[in-house]
């Protein structure tokens, strides 16, 4: 793997709500290298999307990063100007979203939306952008790319739209591609098409990919390294083989064993009891302790730090 591309240290994000500030990301730390695929897994609401939005600098108006550092290449993302940030977005780093149905603007053609960022970041003329757009569509395997340029999003199927999103995200050769649950809304056969596409792209263009998902299958399929999040924190980080072989954190373990396996039948699945805590009522101490089989008194008092058990494997638990 290559140079360090991204470094996130102790990122904290909060939202201003009617009840005051609610902190939903509470110290997320990870880094990425060039050409690497990093997966973030975790349950719904654990702060995966918010982390990625914070990284892109497009948090909703009521959200703000209030602590921590984000360094992209050599730029401190918390200090650069809005304009500089805008130049990064869609250019150096770009993003695709979970819902291909809603992530495209329904009133503009695919072509318009594809051309937009090309014309913006590369100062291309409309014709040049059009050409480049068609190229991109070919690249992501859309048949009839020329015609597709003049279609509207609703005229395409979900898988097609997701390809368009990918084409759009890749059109400016970004160094970092963030994919927030890119396949969750898709059928399995289509999902495997898209995952294959992403794998191929990585090989072809050496783009770093940050993939966010809650499906461990997807993680196993594409990731080099994995970050596991729970309740706004990173609870474990490890290379993919190591994580699946030797999960440390009880949550990771629970997650692994509560997934029904295709090729294995058990009578009862393991299940993590309870539910994810509400961000405005986080438990004290270790946030996982109410659901943790190993938890004892200490866990309710001490909030564990993320500690490295070897150079690439970290966990946030005092019991293992």
């Amino acid at each position: 793997m290559g140079e360090q591309l991204l470094d996130i240290q102790d990122l904290k994000v909060r939202f201003k709500t009617d009840d005051g500030y609610v902190s939903t990301v509470n110290g997320v730390t990870f880094h990425m290298e060039e050409g690497e695929t990093l997966a973030i897994v975790g349950e719904s609401g654990s702060g995966k999307s918010v982390t990625s939005l914070a990284l892109m600098g497009i948090l909703p108006p009521n959200g703000e990063v209030y602590d921590g550092n984000m360094t992209f290449e050599d730029k401190n993302l918390r200090e650069i100007s809005k304009k500089e940030y805008r130049k990064l977005r869609g250019n150096e780093m770009s993003m695709i979203f979970q819902e291909p149905m809603t992530a495209l603007n329904p009133v503009f053609t695919i072509g318009f939306q594809l051309r937009e960022s090309l014309m913006l970041h590369f100062n291309l003329s409309k014709d040049e952008a059009q050409k480049k757009g068609i190229e991109m569509l070919d690249l992501v395997g859309i048949p009839d790319s020329e015609k597709t340029m003049s279609r509207f999003p609703h005229q395409l199927s979900g898988g097609m739209r997701q390809r368009v999103m990918i084409a759009m995200a890749l059109s400016c050769n970004p160094k970092l591609l963030i994919a927030d649950e890119p396949t969750t809304a898709l059928d399995v056969t289509i999902q495997s098409q898209i995952l294959k596409l992403m794998r191929d792209l990585k090989i072809d263009s050496n783009t770093s990919i940050l993939i966010i998902t809650h499906d461990l299958g997807v993680v196993a399929e594409v990731a080099d390294r994995v970050v596991v999040m729970y309740a706004g924190e990173v609870v474990e980080e490890a290379p993919v083989y190591e994580l699946f072989e030797n999960p440390k954190h009880p949550y990771t373990k629970g997650l692994m064993s509560s997934m029904p396996k295709v090729h294995e039948v058990v009578d009862d699945l393991y299940s993590i009891e309870g539910t994810v805590p509400n961000p405005s009522k986080m438990p004290a101490g270790c946030k996982f302790h109410p659901r943790c089989p190993l938890a004892d008194e200490e866990c309710t008092l001490v909030h564990p730090d993320l500690e490295y058990i070897n150079e690439s494997h970290a966990k946030r638990c005092i019991k293992v």
Binding site: S192, D215, V218, P260, K261, H263
Partner: protein, 348 residues
């Protein structure tokens, strides 16, 4: 490949529900003057039977007609053609009143725990509603029964007066299950009952469903697109493609020896949560065609690696190839071919 747990999957074969040549076509009229009607063949000739006490899983990609089949079975939709027998009564022949009575035995749990509960009713009212509608209980009696149901699915007494929005997704799904159980039905259709839940909660609900089945001798029709979950809970599995049942067999047979190329592709597409088994899988090309304009012959032929002209022109017959293993394919995968593909997978 992991061990296969071959246990007694086949249950005592008493047919509780039978579906014959079931069809449901939705007419979408477009014009007003020139009535131009396009027909969505949501369910297009499906046959299967359900045995008492088993779980029949139905899988297939979005829009293939799984939910429609479920609703037809429940009598919530009128079939366009075909017959449904529940304990030897033909459901579609029942009048409104009889149908309402028959529903005591047929219940449903929906996918979306958010939209399947009336936001304006308390948990107590929701769970008690079936009993009230059928005048089975009232007053204290009702309360007691509701409480029992709540305990059965793991809800607590103090939650009785709450509204659905005050619960998490998993808890809501439990409420839905309790409501379905209230009438002590024989058959429950679970339409994507766990698809919307978080990974860790999904396991809780699957376990609960299994437990209840054992306790109450229930029969499930379990509709889902998540294959692992289906395998976990089903005894037999049917695979649907574009309104038709393409394969139906014992779950192990489906997973170990799929006969239909689509079933194979479907299984092959499921990402395996084990990086060591990372595969250079054979991605099947193409998207699911539009059900209002399905391909001729075998619906799967445009995406099928083995298709030829016969597939293009002739609709394959749905037949029983082995004992209890049905398939609709002109060229079902022989052991040899399955072998070929499997070895490829093993190699990678």
């Amino acid at each position: 490949m992991a061990e296969i747990n071959i246990e007694n999957n086949r249950v005592e074969e008493e047919i509780i529900l039978e579906v014959q040549n079931l069809k449901k076509h939705f007419e979408i009229s477009k014009g007003f003057i020139n009535k131009e009607v396009s027909t969505v063949r949501a369910v297009d000739g499906v046959d299967f039977e359900v045995f008492k006490g088993e779980t029949l899983g139905i899988v297939g990609e979005s829009g293939c007609g799984k939910s429609t089949t479920g609703q037809l079975v429940l009598g919530l939709l009128e079939p366009t053609e075909g017959k449904i027998y529940f304990q030897d009564n033909e459901i579609s022949a029942l009048n409104q009143k009889e149908l309402r009575a028959a529903r005591r035995n047929l219940q449903v749990i929906f996918q979306d725990p958010y939209s399947s509960l009336n936001p304006r009713m308390t948990v107590e009212d929701i769970i008690g509603e079936p009993l009230v509608v059928h005048k089975l209980a009232s007053g204290k009696e009702l309360r007691k029964k509701v409480l029992r149901l709540m305990n059965l699915v793991g809800l607590q007494e103090h939650q009785m007066k709450r509204y659905p929005h005050e619960f998490s997704g998993g808890q809501r799904q439990r409420i839905g299950i309790a409501r379905a159980l209230a009438l002590e039905p024989k058959v429950i259709v679970c339409d994507e009952a766990v698809s919307a839940l978080d990974v860790s909660i999904q396991a809780q609900i699957l376990n609960l469903l299994k437990k209840l089945q054992r306790q109450l001798d229930l029969t499930y029709i379990f509709i889902a697109h998540g294959l692992p979950a289906v395998r976990h809970i089903s005894n037999r599995i049917g695979v649907m493609y574009l309104g038709r049942m393409v394969e139906l067999a014992d779950r192990n047979a489906i997973f170990e020896k799929p006969l239909h190329p689509y079933t194979y592709a479907l299984l092959d597409s499921v990402p395996i949560p084990d990086p060591k088994l990372r595969k250079e899988s054979q991605v099947i090309e193409g998207e699911i065609p539009n059900p209002s304009n399905p391909p001729s012959g075998c619906h799967f032929h445009p995406r099928c690696p083995f298709a030829n002209d016969v597939c293009k022109n002739e609709v394959p017959e749905y037949r029983e190839i082995f004992d209890g293993h049905y398939v609709a394919c002109h060229y079902p995968l022989t052991d040899h071919e399955t072998q070929v593909i499997s070895t490829e997978k093993e190699k990678s």
